[in-house]
Amino acid sequence: MDETYDVAVIGAGVVGAAIARALSRYRGSFVVVEKGHDVGTAASGRNSGVIHAGINCLPDTLRARFCMEGRALLQEWCEELNVPYSICGKLVVARVPEEMAGLEKLVANGISNGVPDLRIVSPSEAAALQPGIECFAALHVPTSGIVSPYALTIAMAEDAAVNGVQFLLGAEVTGIQVHEDAFAVATSRGTIRARQLVNSAGIHAGRVARMLDPDAPEVYPCTGEYLILDRQVGERMKMSVYPAPRVANAGLGVHITPTTEGNILLGPSSEYTDDPETVCCTRDVTDRLIDDARVLWPDLPEHLVIGAYAGVRSKLAAPGVGGFSDFTFHTTPGVRRAVHLLGIESPGLTAAPGLARYVLDEFVLPQASYDPKPTEDLRLRRWPDRFDELPEAEKVRRVEADPDHGDIVCRCEGVTKREILHAVDNPLGVRTLSGIKFRSRASMGRCSGGYCLPRIVEILQEERGWSPDDFVLRGPASPAFAGYLLVERHV
């Protein structure tokens, strides 16, 4: 780490990964510093995976602008990277006439933001679009979609990595000093020097910003809990279903969202938290998620809940204060070459490629001249097709070409040994069980890894020489085991 990088990006969530990808198209030395032991370990891996249409953004805000710019670019990038996404549409449901005003407000927002094809539909039309939903009327939003948030983040980061961006994982930023020509960023893995800084550290962005500027705004963490339903029910949900906003409220209620893998998500809830590191699911909230979702979907099969998770949003509005806050690009007079992205909550995922483009165009590129790389110098790292989703004839062909595709390791998700090995051999050097899980899908099914964890242990011991101590859940602090059971005694 003797060199001075051109740009250091702090935080490898979806926004940091998008910025890294955008940077990688230029000649220069770029590094992403991430406190977790993988990319997308915080909010970016714990959200609804929605490609927002733009109906929930107040017009003439940065949120609205980057939602609309971002969603177009997002779909292009997903096509390039082969990241799973689907423009499946959304129904925003009014259960009673009093809720129509809320729908109309969304329509007005949408029209201002340039959202096409919005239509208020009758209960029978709503039922034709999405069976099983009870309503008085609904707003159909055909351009709303879903994307795999962790696939997106990992794919963008790995694509950046194979195009020369360095990733320093497990490195928490502890302080930043300003020198004449560069910043010295102190991390738990040593000090990085960089001429320019982009702070996309999510819930930690406020704290990082204040390392350079004590007047930078505070970011308030706000938890959202989710429940996941078995893929078996995925067939029943063709599109997202949200309740209409109560007019007085800024946000929406409990959502029912399908995922690109065929699961269904219920949530998120919304509670401010003092301790974003201890992200928790609670009994009260998860019970409420089911009760609230059942109002929209009376046949909700509760017995098919297979998991729960919680993510933390970055809010600029303090607890109790409420109200709207826009995306904020904070800079400090006198400290050039650093920009802090604060309060990137919904529609942050949708906006990410647009935010990346903006950060480069407005803050990074004007400061120094970076030549774009010629296309022939670029490599494209595509998210692999999932074996389980291929047509049978193609599966047979792949098994014949590669025997390890014949060995199914995760029975619930149909993940093969080859996919496990591909996941662990990733260009970021991530060697965690969580890293394997999000790249391969193994252990994301109904048995939560009960069958595949033993198989993964066998495979990595056999094929990569791992011992029990090498297996960690998310990093060195979360070992899976406590060593060997029996050790050979040498008398």
Partner: protein, 416 residues
């Protein structure tokens, strides 16, 4: 290397005790049988069950799981079953075509009858919605058993076990023997759910406390498990405020129920019983899909492998008969067998009216002493069995003599 067979009389999915016994019985009844198992070694779950208590009924001996499994592997081998290991069934269709996948090979196998013997999976933390963080160190008991007994892995050092099912009890003793500190077993119900002998041998013998009417209400630890919160629960299965206490531990094992693994069955159109989570079958162990049979843990969770194997043998004979030209389902006049007072579930859920003898398996809803289980048809007692100590953990079987056939509209099993 020769081409794998494309058609067989009987295909058995799963090489645990039920599947092996079914395959051997079908082959001994004259059928051509292929058995597929996804593991490199046959025996299914038995290989990791290194404790004893198997085989008392089947062989009159007290064997460990692997030894018990070997007996059935030998039977199946001697009977001439085509045993294919490291082979998983990826797809099963209603017309009994299997897609089998193994390293380097993905082929189709058509069968005249199919026996589902896939066993079960464990209930997870996610299904229970146990609140808290998601640290490492939380395992289902069966997975921990595999790691301990097959992979030489120490799962943790200070262990709490949720659920007094047999697997959890066995692991309490196993981990204690291997130097871990097992700080307790926590059970939601007011009575233990495992076999009494395991409470005695695994907990009492080692002074491991059993907390009845308690459960885990929160998991703590950002990275590795640090402690759990345990609360007392009332009769409505709700935590009683003020009764919480924390238990420091780095490992939590979940022994909170087994679920028959019927994803393949479901996709083939097999109808499941919501109480057992296994297939609905008739007295031949045939499901609603013609030629697809079910037995063992995938049909209903057994407490004894001996019974799972016996059930498999019975199903194997029937599957062989069907392959040789047995009656299709719609040709039968089926009489439903229903659950009466005190009974949680009954198998089979229906019988052919013409059946002469019937073996009914059932479990009671809650522990009860000095009761009588009865099978009644149209007001008439067909069979009864006195039960000194009935317990939901112990499956009961009654043999029913149907005489010249049944003339009632339904049968009911009940507890008096």
């Amino acid at each position: 290397m020769s081409e794998p067979k494309r058609h067989t009389d009987v295909a058995v999915i799963g090489g645990g005790p039920a599947g092996l016994a079914a395959a051997a019985a079908a082959a001994n009844a004259g059928a051509e049988v292929v058995l597929v198992d996804r593991n490199p070694r046959l025996g299914g779950i038995l290989n990791q069950c290194i404790h004893d208590g198997f085989g008392l009924h089947a062989f009159g001996e007290v064997l460990t799981g692997p030894e018990f499994g070997e007996r059935y592997v030998a039977r199946a081998t001697e009977a001439g079953v085509d045993l294919r290991v490291s082979t998983m069934v990826a797809e099963l269709s209603a017309d009994r075509e299997l897609v089998c996948t193994s390293p380097g090979s993905r082929t189709r196998l058509a069968a005249s009858s199919v026996i589902l013997a896939m066993g079960c999976r464990e209930r997870t933390r996610g299904m229970l919605r146990i609140p808290g963080t998601r640290p490492s160190g939380v395992y289902t008991a069966g997975t921990a058993q595999w790691l301990t007994n097959m992979a030489n892995v120490r799962v943790g050092r200070r262990v709490l076990i949720l659920g007094s099912g047999d697997i959890g009890l066995i692991m309490a003793r196993r981990l204690t023997w291997e130097g871990a500190e097992v700080v307790g077993v926590v059970e939601l119900l007011p009575y233990p759910s495992g076999l009494p002998r395991n409470i005695s041998q695994c907990l009492d013998d080692y002074g491991i406390p059993l907390y009845l009417s308690h459960s885990v209400t929160c998991i703590h630890g950002v990275d590795r498990l640090e402690r759990v919160t345990v609360s007392r629960f009332d009769d409505d299965r709700r935590p009683i405020p003020g009764t919480e206490f924390d238990v420091a531990c780095d490992t939590l094992l979940l022994s909170v129920g087994l679920i028959p693994e019927n994803e393949l069955s479901r996709r083939a159109g097999v109808l499941l019983d919501p109480t057992t989570s296994g297939a609905q079958v008739d007295d031949r162990y045939m499901t609603n899909v013609d030629g697809i049979f079910s037995c063992g843990n995938v049909l209903h969770i057994h407490d004894l492998a001996d019974w799972a194997a016996e059930e498999g043998a019975r199903a194997g004979v029937r599957a062989a008969e069907y392959a040789a030209g047995g009656a299709r389902r719609e040709a039968l006049d089926l009489v439903p067998i229903e659950v009466g007072p005190g009974i949680r579930y009954v198998l089979p859920q229906a019988t052919a009216r013409s059946a002469k003898r019937l073996l009914v398996s059932f479990r009671v809803v809650e522990p009860a002493d000095h009761r009588t289980a009865e099978v009644v048809a149209g007001g008439r007692d067909l069979a009864s069995l006195s039960l000194r100590h009935a317990h939901p953990a112990t499956m009961v079987q009654i043999e029913v003599d149907c005489g010249d056939g049944l003339d009632a509209e339904r049968l009911e099993v009940r507890l008096r």
